[in-house]
């Protein structure tokens, strides 16, 4: 079945002030589409983490969200610099965030773990010096 794009956004590097804006917008959209509170919560958590990752770690990027009759698909893509060691990045507690960011309550090394935990399917395409593309699917 054809998928429909419901959110298309551009996210700037370091734009903490707008962190969570897209996830909030998406939460409201999904609520209006009649998605259950539980599924909505999972999609919101996944989108928030991916959004913050772009703000904290990337050179900028964006998030597009698609719906099909069976699932919500969140696609986060940035223009680099790529995840140096994906295996480490997926370990709970591992983070490359600096102290300033950690003091704000980010960089606890739980972001990607949350994405993994709350998604039904997860695909991460990255590497040193590459762009990162993360596709998370949450089944309806």
């Amino acid at each position: 079945m054809k998928e429909q794009m419901i959110l298309k956004s551009r996210i700037e590097k370091g734009d903490f002030n707008r962190g969570g804006e897209n996830s909030s917008k998406l939460k409201e959209l999904l609520r209006k589409l009649g998605v259950t509170a539980d599924i909505n919560r999972r999609v919101t958590i996944v989108t928030y983490e991916l959004e913050m990752n772009i703000i904290i770690h990337s050179d900028g990027g964006g998030i597009n969200v698609y719906v099909t009759p069976d699932a919500v698909k969140v696609v986060a893509e940035d223009s680099g610099p790529g995840i140096e060691d994906l295996e480490k990045a997926l370990q709970p507690g591992y983070s490359t965030a600096n102290d300033e960011i950690r003091n704000m309550g980010f960089g606890a090394g739980m972001g990607l773990n949350n994405v993994e935990y709350f998604s039904d399917e997860l695909e991460i395409d990255t590497g040193p010096g590459k762009r990162t593309r993360i596709t998370a699917v949450i089944n309806l």
Partner: protein
């Protein structure tokens, strides 16, 4: 218990108030936002010492009834402005998270 009653009992400072008639069901304490996102649920009280704008975003996303900033930590002006715009109940107390949690537990929350 309604938020208004809880504010009264715990003598909380109201920074922004939007919907004081909301019910409070449970508490989550945390300063690491990813953990809060994963564990805090709608209608809970979230106790933290973070006072920046992203706290408002997380409060909205989790749907908590209110945020209590413990130990009178500073709350950024931009966060207050955003909480007001987005309708987030933002409260503050000189008490520690533990003291607040103990009092909330005594109230049956």
């Amino acid at each position: 218990m309604k938020l208004a009653e809880l504010i009264d009992k715990l003598e909380l400072e109201i920074i922004t108030a939007d919907s004081l008639d909301r019910e409070v069901k449970g508490v989550y304490i945390g300063d690491l936002l990813s953990n809060v996102m994963a564990k805090a649920e709608a209608d809970m009280i979230w106790i933290t010492i973070q006072g920046h704008q992203n706290v408002v975003a997380v409060a909205l996303l989790t749907g908590v009834t209110a945020v209590i900033v413990a130990e009178d930590f500073q709350i950024e002006e931009a966060a207050i402005k955003r909480a007001r715009e987005e309708g987030v109940n933002l409260l503050r107390s000189p008490k520690t998270a533990y003291q607040l949690a103990s009092e909330l537990a005594k109230l049956g929350i």
